[in-house]
Amino acid sequence: MPGGIESAAVPAVQATGIHKQFGSTQALRGVDITLWPGRCLGLVGRNGAGKSTLVSILSGIYAADAGLVRFDGNPAPPLGAVGAWRSRIATVFQHSMVVPGLTVAENVFLGRQPRCSGLAGRAGLIDWRRMRAETRAIMAEWGYQVDAATLCGQLTVEQRQIVEIVRALAAGTRCLLLDEPTAALERGAIRRLFERVRQLTASGVAVLYISHHLEEVFDICQDVAVVRDGELVLTAPAADLSREQLVTAMVGSQVAAGSLGRVPSAPRAGPGAPLLAIEDVRSDSVRGPLRGVSLRVGAGERVGVTGLLSAGVATLARVAAGAEPLSAGRVLLDGRPLVPGRRDLALRRGVGYIPEDRQAEGFVALLGVAENTAMTIADRLARMLGLLWPRVVNAAAAPLIRRLSIVASRPAQPVGELSGGNQQKVTAARALARGPRLIVAITPTRGVDVASKSLLLSELAEAAERDGAGLLLATDELDDLVICDRVAVLVRGEAFAEFTEPPFGREALIAATEGLIAGGRREPS
């Protein structure tokens, strides 16, 4: 066992009175947070509450305006001393920080590769054998099975995360920050990650676990801390808290906890005329191939599609949005074929699209909130000669910005400056702006806090309810499927099961995504 359990009398990390201001925004106001060796602290809060800022300060990326960070009782190293910070605390971010073109061993020892002995070492020659051997030793010690000589670009998301954890362990770090580590993981990988976290805490490592998924927090954290509006409003052992108490602390008094679970009214009685017909579609997409999938969505109908990451869920939704070329099959909208891979034509035919990865496809970071929101209706807003007056754009975006309660300082504020949740809302607003007849949404609530999540879902459901739009919701967040009338489950690129009667039982859905209950037409719950 590496290290061994340290004395719990000295906190691994102790931050006191942390203040941080960005421009006129007070991101953190006097936060005290303590991580104890051998314990996992869950940090929860709504988007924009200050979690990311706190993580950045603890990781040595930003300096606090006021306050003190201590590691094992000693003052934190100066901000520029990257090596010293890394040996104290390591952060595994949502987006993988491994270099894809280097091997696992090189990534583990990135920036601190062991040198050869003697003159060769002084000249900068790396002791490759020792580097690989040490990597293998750590992997073996913790029971991880990732080959030290593989290129990181060939690893799965889960394996890359392991590389990052091993990197921290190799540097002797006894404190780990995990920022939304399950966001891109499949269910099995999440279970294994939890095992690793338990193993780490058992050996005396202090863990800070940041997540939007409260059940995860209850599952692996001993303590929970809640930030709201830059303040730490609650710290308590997880065992003493109920889910409702936690949500109330996160949201504050503004929204009653009971209204959070608010889901739209009962699903519509019967599907209308088939709006979207996907017929025997095949694709070799890297996002997950499709091997002959058919699906129909009626006007006003809300259809969910779920499955494991590689099952082709996102591919199917992209096909419906006109964002993905096909190798066979066809997609009909109102009985007329949609040109594959021509998103611009699909938009004009009335298909709104919330892409999977908002950073990559959801918005233009340098452009303003209003301009991003109105991007799908620029042709309608343009006046003579194609002129697009900012005033017109702002006026068109304003109702959507209000409807989705997007918090921005001004219509022209670049979307890149907003918090993740607000960025996601801009992405949704952009899709809704054109009054689409069919909305294709892929994981629309990923990385979004509880309150924003229910707002986004109810907006999507309402678009179906009120405007008679069809909704195709592709997601691996099973909770989001409550707004659906029908759920199709894909397994390895094929339609595996369909659930037609809500409510959809969690266990049955999970079993189906794993390919366990063949053709589970009616689910038992």
Binding site: A323, G362, V364, A365, L367, M375, L388, S409, R410, Q413
Partner: protein, 340 residues
């Protein structure tokens, strides 16, 4: 929701100061230009005369129009090294078809007006080929346009066997040489092109789409913007603008030489002017006010060095140093986003 209202109220106050900051950043080069004007006046008393200033105007017009083209291409996240060869080849082909055999022409003796149409067509064609290779062929823009610039420069010398073409008809050299009162026509046209391009980028649907495509092509595509068409269109526009720049230069020196463009290496000042002016090499960021100030800055520096009788041996080193200095200054004044 009360605290959100309060937040909005606070932020409204901030938005005014944010707008002021962005204005300062956009005009980051203005103080530098002012300093240069003052310095120039000290260096030589004839600097601030009407004839010198309008002379500078005529000299930088050709460069300026080409910078508009390069800036558009940079804004969509591309780059085009071949503009400098288009700048030489387009007027060369046009002049070759216009001037008589005695002046090394082809013998077709076309009308100069038709020649100008051909010049624009050559620019458009080069841009189209570049655009198709880069966008549809998914080739790297740097290498495609690097190859293209050498091919075009070779053609430029090849068609006239490395001769220079003189005796350009008045209609052909009008744009680069004529004056309206004390103002050179080329300066008026260049200023008009900057103005139209600036307004287009700010207020036109396609102009806004250019920023979206440069800022995040995938997001633009997902929002239904015809990304490929806009990119190719911008390469075509860049080629046409470079051809117009070449026409101005040919008119100014009353000849088309084999070295116009590629031989003079004008792509370096073109890039320098755009980047000093805050047009990002990464795409999606920059505007015509900046690009114009970059061009003016380079023109002023060149003119002051000439007037100060700096030895020809040193003039390039000083010119380069000034470009580096201006870049650093633009970063200091304009902040993180400037001059990258």
């Amino acid at each position: 929701m009360t605290d959100r209202v309060a937040v909005e109220a606070i932020l409204q106050g901030r938005s005014r100061s944010a707008a002021a900051i962005s204005l300062v950043r956009e005009a980051a080069l203005l103080p530098v230009l002012a300093v240069l004007l003052i310095a120039g006046a000290f260096v030589n008393s004839s600097f601030l005369t009407v004839s010198n200033i309008s002379g500078i105007g005529q000299q930088i017009s050709a460069l300026g129009v080409t910078v508009v083209g390069e800036s558009l291409i940079l804004l969509i996240g591309g780059m085009d090294l071949s503009l400098e060869s288009t700048y030489g080849l387009a007027p060369m082909v046009a002049a070759w078809l216009i001037v008589p055999v005695s002046a090394f022409g082809s013998g077709t003796d076309l009308s100069p007006y038709l020649g100008i149409v051909i010049l624009l067509a050559v620019g458009a064609a080069v841009g189209m080929v570049n655009g198709l290779l880069i966008v549809k062929g998914r080739l790297n823009g740097f290498i495609v346009t690097l190859g293209m610039t050498i091919v075009l420069a070779g053609l430029q010398n090849g068609v006239v066997k490395a001769q220079s073409l003189f005796n350009l008809p008045a209609a052909f050299s009008y744009l680069g040489s004529a004056y309206v009162g004390k103002l050179p026509v080329s300066l008026i046209v260049a200023a008009a092109i900057f103005l139209v391009a600036g307004l287009f980028l700010r207020y036109h649907r396609t102009g806004r789409a250019i920023y979206a495509v440069g800022g995040n092509p995938e997001a633009a595509r997902a929002a239904g913007i015809k990304v490929d068409r806009i990119k190719i269109g911008v390469y075509v526009a860049g080629g046409v603008l470079a051809a117009i720049g070449g026409l101005m230069e040919a008119g100014r020196v009353s000849a088309v030489t084999g070295s116009q463009g590629y031989g003079e290496g004008i792509i370096f000042p073109v890039f320098a002017a755009a980047v000093i002016g805050g047009v990002s090499l990464k795409g999606g960021r920059g505007n015509m006010v900046g690009a114009a100030s970059g061009v003016i800055l380079l023109g002023l520096v060149q003119n002051i060095l000439d007037l100060a009788n700096v030895s020809n041996y040193w003039i390039e080193a000083i010119n380069g140093a000034v470009i580096l200095f201006a870049l650093v200054l633009a970063r200091v004044i304009g902040g993180e986003a400037a001059a990258e």
